[in-house]
């Protein structure tokens, strides 16, 4: 394939039809995953679109330096994870704050109280509401925990893959996932219990 170019030997000029076709293959194969991760991270369509578009634009720019053999998936997800973290840095007003951390006040620390999510069983089964609740719970996690849990439980990556994508040690992936799931199960307790009951307990 004519895409084995090394850094430094990159030819200038527009992409050949083969290169464009290769880019389209990458888009076809990964765009949905990348968009989905971005969406689960940011929780809204506009930002998810921006993030994933930017990720693919970066791929397009360096297409000639990408060797066909390298695992593109981890690389793409790392790009989108980094873009997400950049997005958080650029928008200091969108403060990511864990809802489970005690809130310091002049009269000591207080824990936030949330409305009871225990609706009628019918409401619990309502898929759309459930999705919103899960997305809301994800949004309550810190960025680190959210990235780990989205990559693991939404996208199904192994711990090693997550460690590669996030460039953190394996032990960090384990502890982040553990903490993330602890927080999520508390936030989603009614749904979690309903699901357990559904298993015939």
């Amino acid at each position: 394939m004519a895409l084995m170019a090394q850094p430094g030997t990159v030819r200038a000029g527009p992409y050949t039809p083969e290169e464009v076709a290769w880019y389209e293959t990458i888009v076809h194969r990964y765009a949905r995953h990348v968009y989905n991760i971005a969406y689960r991270m940011v929780g809204n369509e506009a930002d998810a679109r921006d993030l994933s578009q930017e990720a693919f634009l970066r791929v397009y720019r360096v297409l000639r330096r990408v060797e066909p053999g390298i695992p593109l998936e981890s690389w793409l997800h790392r790009i989108v994870s980094n873009l997400y973290i950049d997005l958080l840095r650029r928008r200091p007003r969108v403060r990511v704050e864990s809802l489970d951390v005690p809130l310091p006040t002049p009269r000591g620390e207080v824990l936030r109280e949330f409305p009871d999510l225990t609706f009628s069983p019918e409401a619990v089964l309502e898929k759309e509401r459930l999705d919103r609740a899960i997305q809301g719970a994800l949004g309550a996690l810190s960025a680190d925990l959210r990235l780990a849990v989205v990559l693991s439980d939404v996208e199904g990556f192994s711990y090693e893959e997550i460690a590669t994508i996030l460039r953190v040690p394996l032990g960090t992936v384990k502890s982040r996932l553990h903490r993330a799931r602890q927080i999520l199960q508390q936030r989603l307790r009614p749904y979690v219990e309903a699901r357990r009951r559904g298993w015939g307990e």
Partner: protein, 170 residues
């Protein structure tokens, strides 16, 4: 065997099948004995299951058009930013012509200076003295005047003047 606290921390990794075989066996043994950890494990499993059932977010239509065609608005870095409407061939000819003009302009003084110097060498010192005699008389200590004096001491004849005493007769 592992204690209750340690098992609690390993449940998440146990669920994902990411423990070493001996750790997994130890957690499995603990779960058989500890109802609290079994319940905790099931809650984690249910939480993971909930996340796994989230629908795949479908990208909007405009996402596809932008991602498939990143070119028009924002060209890749490898592509040179040519002005859109001018054909490349014409731009190349323009650049060559500009280079040629630049070379001529840069080299003209060099060549001309060399020719002048060669010419001056032929005419010799007489020309120098003739040209600078006036300046020498006005400002004898100026550089040009001084040189004239030095050259004059060599008993050179100024143009149009008879040879001075001591020199060879004309």
């Amino acid at each position: 065997m592992i204690n209750h606290h340690r098992a609690g921390h390993l449940l998440s990794s146990y669920l994902d099948g990411e423990l070493l075989p001996e750790e997994a066996t130890a957690v499995q043994g603990h779960l058989l004995e500890c109802a609290a950890c079994r319940a905790a494990f099931e809650r984690i499993r249910a939480t993971k299951g909930l996340l796994g059932e989230l629908p795949v977010a479908e990208p909007p239509v405009e996402f596809w058009s932008t991602v498939r065609e990143p070119g028009p608005g924002r060209p890749p870095a490898a592509r040179l930013p040519w002005p859109g409407s001018i054909p490349r061939r014409r731009v190349a000819w323009g650049a060559a012509a500009a280079l040629a003009v630049g070379l001529v302009l840069a080299l003209t003084p060099v060549i001309k200076g060399t020719v002048d110097r060669l010419h001056a060498a032929e005419i010799g010192v007489d020309l120098y003295v003739r040209e600078h005699a006036f300046g020498m008389s006005i400002e004898p200590l100026a550089d040009r005047g001084f040189l004239g004096v030095v050259v004059g001491d060599a008993d050179l004849v100024l143009a149009g003047e008879p040879s001075r005493a001591g020199g060879s007769p004309p």
